[in-house]
Symmetry: C2
Subunit: 300 residues, 2 copies
């Protein structure tokens, strides 16, 4: 083990496994693999983790704190959801059936909501990381991604949240539907903003506007870049229409990859809302560090 | 050639090629292949057609009338769109560069609309077939399918139309998205009707309701059959919300595969609208026969 590192932070999602050797709250080494939860059977999680961490391990015991889909029912072990309203890290960490004597693995549970039904795994850690640097935040956090989350935060708790499949639907339509022949590389900011505003003001027309991208490409020479931006604008605009109670008149911060956060920020700016932005990886690490600090404080 | 058949009707879509040996307006033999337009290069269309028709051909010349994506830009030859408003078969049939002396192939052009941009290929033939049996029809035809079309008909003309990608989006979400683990076989009529009505009355909430199917499966034991019916209901309800000007207070006939037409019919019935239904294959054949009759009347 790197002499200065005293624990390991792990973000284990559906497609990726990322690990950081940590000295307190600071990463001193990083490693990643494509052994996401989606391609692993339960008995394959420990070998996949050891494979990645071996260069960092010595004979002593080290704590590994992990977040994400690794704690799903189809993951390494199920870390049962904590129901909202609650602080994002208030659930009990779950130890999977690891057998290597050098590892003390703890998985952060996700959050659930009964009405309307919703779940998250991983984003609760980013939310906790964001709140670690601004404990008094009162407002809404938006976490854009494959499944974008909107979470209402008050007094350090997640009060309610809502998930939108916007990123996944964009990928399916742009990559696998009949629109794939017309949606190309590049971007047209004006086409994005216009489509987002249009979908926001008339969300009921979304279903009719998607095929128009094909028709306009055929009969009106819509460019592949404009088609891409417009498809994104229609879907994000429809999301913003459904998420209106979350952002209208609220303080909003975006936690996500820089490009995608900018896109959401532009759509919100067109509605007169200037959102703050925060880096997703930094939030994940700060959240894992907060969970690690809680764990070591309360461990016997 | 079957002695009684005097021409050949062909429905050539993206995924399938179907042909009928016809005696006037009556099919006397049928054949099909999976050589859809989507898997063929331009030079492969004639061999694919000959492959299917050879048992029916003798030394004489025979007319083949075809509709569908075979006339698309990526098809055998482009049959340019006829702009609406127009009678569904008012465009000029297009001959592809066939070289076999036994074939006189004619492709029916599709329809286009400038505002809002839209196109159809194949459905114009079904519309013509429907109108052949009810020339005075004044109302709306809905053709459910991968890309559902709604067409306003008056005085024998298609006045306007609109396409919805509902069928394709359902297939992508049910088969390839994160929802695929929760959407199963079977059907739950009550779940369908409730979801369709809900999406119709609050279409702006659609983006938020899709992920709920996953959450409800995880935390509230939503059955795979109910998830399937609810996904279908949400998408068809959103389509009906966007298509409202087409059906509200109108006479509506559904032309489609029996199961899918029933599903649309149930969603419309819940809104107090009793739609008529017509068989899609019968409409296609009647439309091809009408195009054949026009062609032989006007041919030199």
């Amino acid at each position: 083990m790197n002499a200065v590192a005293d624990w390991i932070a792990v973000d284990w999602g559906t497609s990726n496994l990322r690990a950081w050797a940590m000295a307190g709250g600071r990463p001193v080494a990083e490693a990643q693999a494509d052994h996401g939860m989606g391609v692993l059977q339960p008995h394959q999680f420990e070998p996949a983790l050891l494979d990645l961490l071996t260069p960092w391990l010595d004979t002593g015991l080290i704590t590994v704190v992990a977040c994400g889909m690794v704690g799903a029912r189809q993951g390494w072990t199920e870390a049962p959801y904590t129901p909202v309203p609650c602080a994002p890290l208030s659930g009990r960490l779950k130890a999977p059936p690891a057998t290597d004597p050098r590892l003390d693995v703890r998985i952060i549970p996700g959050l659930s909501q009964v009405r309307p039904p919703d779940v998250m795994r991983g984003e609760e850690t980013q939310i906790a990381g964001y709140l670690a640097s601004d404990p008094g935040f009162d407002g809404v956090l938006c976490l854009p991604g494959t499944h974008t989350k909107w979470a209402q935060i008050s007094a350090g708790e997640v009060v309610s949240f809502r998930t939108f499949m916007t990123g996944e639907i964009f990928a399916l339509l742009a990559g696998q539907s009949v629109l794939r022949h017309f949606v190309g590389e590049g971007w047209d900011e004006a086409a994005f903003t216009e489509a987002a505003s249009d979908a926001l003001s008339r969300p009921e027309a979304l279903a009719a506007r998607l095929f128009s991208l094909r028709a306009e490409s055929l009969i009106a020479d819509l460019s592949p870049a404009a088609a891409r931006a417009r498809l994104s604008g229609l879907l994000i605009g429809a999301e913003l229409a459904a998420a209106r109670p979350y952002w209208l008149g609220q303080r909003v911060a975006l936690i996500g990859a820089p490009g995608l956060s900018e896109t959401y920020g532009a759509a919100l700016a067109a509605q007169g809302l200037l959102a703050e932005t925060a880096d997703a990886t930094r939030a994940t690490l700060a959240g894992l560090a907060a969970a690690h600090a809680n764990y070591t404080e309360t461990a016997p």
